[in-house]
Subunit: 211 residues, 4 copies
């Protein structure tokens, strides 16, 4: 029978190793769209603090000339590009092309020279050219913010690690509709795939790289 005590103690010494920051990061803001901020949306998650933290970190990235990448989810009106994911989660139909639920929330408008990647699945790497863009531009790491911790953030963190890029997850800048789910996924990501850091640590790192 597997252990039932404190998970952190159980994992300590085997998992939770630190990779550390890379030298050439990009910053990603995952799926910060209206569907998670509009109170009447089925996907409403009450995660304004995560967006605030991400925008704060974005300022630091811009000041350090670190590229900023945004993602959103966009489906054909027929949902025929939604695959098994859309079969599982009916609420994904909020993201058909042109649906206001896919709009950027106030304060997030991407800069003209910043990349926006539209995807159909949880991982920002799946069915997109993100890994190619990171490799071709010489990046070694991806600083991760966005929504939701248990969904697209977790899937992107796992895939960053798999594709060869150090995932750095900024704790305050990712969010989930449920706090326990948020925390259990931070635990898993930090245990096995990438380092979970604080907003202050991430900003300090960007400032150092700007130096």
């Amino acid at each position: 029978m597997s252990a039932t005590g404190d998970a952190k103690s159980n994992y300590a010494g085997v998992f939770e190793g630190r990779i550390g920051f890379g030298q050439r990061p990009a910053l990603i803001l995952i799926d910060f769209v209206e569907a998670y901020f509009a109170p009447d949306s089925p996907l409403f998650a009450d995660v304004q603090p995560a967006l605030d933290a991400a925008l704060d970190l974005r300022d630091a990235a811009r000041a350090a000339a670190i590229p900023v990448i945004y993602t959103n989810v966009v489906y054909h009106p027929s949902m025929r590009d939604g695959g098994r994911f859309a079969q599982k989660i009916g609420a994904l139909s909020s993201f058909t092309r042109g649906n206001p639920m896919g709009d950027w929330p106030r304060g997030l408008e991407p800069g003209e020279d910043e990349l926006v990647i539209s995807k159909q699945y949880a991982s920002c790497f799946f069915g997109t050219s993100l890994a190619a863009t990171l490799a071709a531009n010489g990046h070694d790491s991806l600083v991760i913010t966005g929504l939701s911790t248990s969904g697209c953030v977790r899937a992107t963190c796992v895939d960053a690690c798999q594709h060869g890029f150090i995932p750095i997850v900024v704790g305050e800048a990712v969010g989930d509709r449920h706090d326990e789910v948020h925390r259990s996924n931070l635990f898993d990501m930090n245990a096995k795939y990438g380092d979970v850091v604080s907003l202050a640590e991430a900003k300090a790192n960007f400032a150092k790289l700007a130096g």
Copy 2:
């Protein structure tokens, strides 16, 4: 602030939809290797019941002529194919080629006509030809057993969904070194990517397909 009550209630009605079983499944046994069964291994997880359940389900699959696929993790002795994953988890060095920690545990020996896929990362789809094999052979679904729930099982479930194959996770046949971590990952998978079913349901489905 995101919700703090019961996660299941919070997710109900939005997530946790059912996809249902497919018509042409394959069964996968993920990373059932000695490292998780040897008491002195850093990766020891105390998960014999998960293996027993998987072997029980394998009998049902064989009786129904449903293909069985196994995975293990194999690295070059230099670990230079371990990438960021091996940088994060030092204990992955248990899986260098020829290390007895990578052996099959008693009772698991794959049949001669059954496929074994060696991988370097968490997802059985990443860096392998699994998706191609499933598509070329006309499968629509992947019934998932193996280790560990929060690691390779979760990553494989997410990727099955992303690649176009219905993931069916068999609750008793997957395991993790820690019970709470096991349960939180079952919750997440069932919420967003695939159906978590009981061993009895999975066996009944295989029997029906055998019919």
Copy 3:
């Protein structure tokens, strides 16, 4: 020293096997955009007959309720998502978002229920969710038309084969700016990856499936 006589004789009996048509095809029209039809475009290829053949086949697909998928190439104005491909081919800057060179040529307008996939690379599978869409919708084969034979068509044919879908290339419905290059690539694709068929054969197959 490798052989110098007739390539077809040299390959016969080893390569050029036939896979045959699948049972559940989708039809793809690759990169039929203005850049290849406008006489003053650097990418002008003089390939109206290929478009005419593709539109003829599209009628047959629609009549048989076979899904039609279109691709185009779209880059961020900064070209920072163009990677090594854009470093190699400067003329790809014709495909920045909104550039009229990326418009559909007369007669091609996709139907409202037909999927359009925007890509950044040669293969329609690379950096897109095409393979996931084909798998999730139960397709076993991809009937290929489009531009150019030596570029995106060849790369897509190889990737269809790799991803588990039978590639069927329609000879008259693919084109290249140079006839010899067109023919050598048809030879290679037919030798190793998929069957090259005539427009008449493809139409007859669709009619049979409609039956």
Copy 4:
């Protein structure tokens, strides 16, 4: 009607741009196995000069501490992991696990610290963790040698470009069973995906990096 004169003139000025060498290359030797060297093999290609050139370049890479990677093709005895590729080319059954046709030819034995990647498809990137290994180890380019020019070399060159790594193809160190097919594929790769260079240029570049 597409052009019929000299292809090189037709492509000049639009394609055939030069990317140039990268700063952090890896060297790959693709599928140099007995099947292509044994006179009674259906895949015999008479390409000893390509192997000789590759071994010469390997010496230069080792002297410059540039990592060397090898690939071979390995299938399960049932060929059920061969997918559509094995349906198309029956002779791929030469590569079932343990078949002497998959042995290294004399002179090629990989060093103990050099990586060997086994694959099932044409591209060395498809269904393998090669891209992850290159990205995690900070490589920006892949110097390509091996067999055959029209098959695995071409597919790997296209995929290197797509995945974000500069492909450098060494003309004398790649080979094909037919000379015309060899040359037409060198033309296509040089036109659109990577630079085709001479053995002397590649050696000079490695010597410079060793400096």
